[in-house]
Point group: C2
């Protein structure tokens, strides 16, 4: 097993995404849609503006009445937002109108109140020549009923659901939230809030993965800690309800105390799709099935678990949610040279630095040990170094993996 070639990251990720299902659609109230992923396009149910409306407070007239300074109008009614004037104006007639109100029949131009003089009750004149059609927002300026406003696959922002609500959508079709089990393996682990005794370590991995799943639009189901004991994983899976994916951390290596792989092999229907990935941190990464449950086994080191969560779990969730739109990679300019890389794809914790000219460059943290969670928390991004990447001088453009919002 040790001499087998390591699997490239992209190939491993493609296999994971292919084996996980696209989740079914469900209905969601538009006001509850934040962060959900559209299963269908959002199509406008109504037109906005619903009619020609006034963009200002003033008077609505027909341009054919004349718009020159000194023209006199007879005011025959009033229209406010929510209270349209149901009549029609003819030549020489006007209605008082307020911002957002519908233009009445016959009207096509707004005279703003700052450029009007009242002659007598019911009679006004313009003090400045107006333009035909001015200050009118035409019907459908924003969108028309039937327009596609938001594409399927989009992860909905606050602005998106606001737009859908304005367009008359009461409910939208979104992907069901993936149900993701989270389990940590290790005799040394205690839960956050417990004080570790000699030899013990606080299990921070489950907390990180829980937040990652939630922020990605999934539902995290926490199964706590299992001990380094043969059969512990099988028992935990039997006790769990149906899951779309079980994510474990720790116990994924080949040591005598690592039982994730052997438990998978011992379980009915257990299978391992792959096991070792050409990446750093995070070589021992398992993907497979235990019983009917898909399993992603991440390494136990906090930084390795975090990086593998970003590199595999996050895009796997996006894939289950049908999200083809959220970009994951970006580019940045190196501030410091990097040596040539070996056969493993490196993910270097790195910081953004703003230069004197305002441009932003990226520099790796000086130490990259995978036990150093502090540099992971402080990092602004991960620099991606492909296998066998040649030496890179400062100024080179390199691919980076930004941290998703909130993560």
């Amino acid at each position: 097993m040790l001499n087998k070639p390591l699997m490239p990251v992209a190939e491993a990720l493609a296999q994971i995404c292919e084996m996980l299902p696209l989740l079914p659609a469900e209905q969601c109230d538009v006001t509850e849609g934040l962060g959900r992923h559209l299963a269908q396009d959002v199509v406008a149910e109504i037109t906005h503006p619903a009619a020609h409306i006034s963009a200002m407070d003033g008077y609505a007239v027909a341009a054919s009445s004349g718009l020159n300074s000194g023209t006199i109008y007879n005011v025959i009614g009033e229209a406010a937002a929510g209270n349209p004037f149901s009549g029609r104006i003819g030549q020489g007639e006007a209605i008082r109108i307020f911002t957002g109100a519908y233009l009445c029949a016959g009207a096509d131009t707004i005279l703003i109140q700052e450029e009007i003089e009242t002659l007598s009750a019911g009679h006004i004149t313009i003090t400045k020549t107006a333009q035909a059609g001015q200050f009118v927002r035409p019907e459908g300026l924003d969108f028309t009923a039937g327009n596609c406003l938001l594409p399927a696959g989009k992860c909905l922002t606050a602005r998106d659901i606001t737009l859908a609500a304005l367009a008359g959508c009461k409910t939208i079709q979104v992907r069901r939230r993936p149900q993701i089990g989270i389990l940590s393996s290790g005799d040394e682990l205690v839960s956050p809030g417990e004080r570790p005794q000699i030899g013990q370590l606080i299990n921070s991995n489950s907390l990180f993965l829980h937040q990652l799943v939630t922020l990605s639009g999934g539902t995290a189901v926490d199964f706590g800690i299992i001990r380094d004991k043969k059969g512990a994983l099988i028992k935990a899976v039997e006790a769990a309800g149906p899951l779309d994916l079980l994510v474990t951390t720790g116990g994924a290596s080949v040591g005598d105390h690592d039982h994730i792989v052997s438990d998978i092999m011992a379980a009915d229907g257990g299978q391992i799709a792959f096991w070792k990935i050409a990446m750093r941190p995070g070589k021992p990464l398992i993907f497979g099935k235990i019983g009917n449950t898909a399993l992603l086994g991440l390494p136990g080191n906090p930084v390795s678990a975090g990086v593998c969560g970003l590199v595999f779990l996050y895009p796997a969730l996006q894939s289950m949610l049908g999200d083809q739109l959220t970009p994951r990679h970006a580019n940045a300019v190196l501030a410091t040279p990097l040596p040539a890389n070996d056969r493993r794809q490196d993910y270097l914790r790195a910081y953004f630095v703003t230069q004197d000219d305002g441009s932003i460059v990226v520099t790796p943290a000086p130490q990259q040990d995978s036990s150093m969670l502090r540099t992971f928390a402080k990092a602004d991004c991960l620099i991606v170094r492909p296998p066998y990447a040649p030496e890179a001088s400062d100024g080179t453009i390199v691919p980076i993996l930004p941290f998703p919002p909130g993560i």
Copy 2:
């Protein structure tokens, strides 16, 4: 009033932030800290790693025993993560050790199992000369008890709370969530989910502001829609509980149907700090007090309300939460020339465009009417055009306001 000079955006924002209180600190479980704002530095309660630990599966030895290929060791015990070896090794002795386990007394170097040969039960030899101290993670490599890990004012990410949990923090001190009332004013408004009749409009503003407040770490309290009627705002405020800020949309202008300003002036202790801002969209913007409640009155047009929410409400929330760290502005390169600007600061909805060389430029949406919510939803950022900004050619670096995550 109309001829008074308009207030600059920065001055208005500074006044708002100054008049709103810094919220008190409260205790929060570290596992619940996502998106909260630190009121105190997070200080490590324990050291990580807590002792020198092994970075690999293998054997722990003393370098002074010799590390040349062929050196023979007597294996006297075992240490695994969570199960330390309590004895001490002497010259020529080793313990079996697994990743994450503490080194025992006397050990300072790890021989990895791939470079070991077992001679007989209890005796091993090295097949490759080792380096003194190799594969050891020293105590405190990540952090030491007492280290400041996260600064006061920081908005906590998933990685931050994971780090705090690993560092033994059970609770953290965060700012209380601001309680923000949201109220829309307008005879024409109906709520999302209702079908608008002739002259009516769906009130999308409250939904947007609700999400903005929530995503910024506040608690939104929705007071629905009030009608364009004298006294309606006063009544609504009397019925509301204590709030840190009440945000209204609509009714902020000078029309006969706009009652926000007159209601504030009519209320006991009502005061208006300012009213008209040199910006576009969003000139009529109120900040003041009604009774004991601070009030921010935004315009009613969906895009104006949205932009003013980003320009004033979002930083006001950050200020109340003591957040000096989250950057709000950035720079981008213009893809298309812009004309000289007038006296109002413009916020242009704009798109990012990736060029052939991979660089990203920014281009404004061709139409900027403030009723067009669709371009607001589609936009990647707002280009900020200061008052009297001169013509800008393509290639010019311009300030932009990115949309905060999820918004």
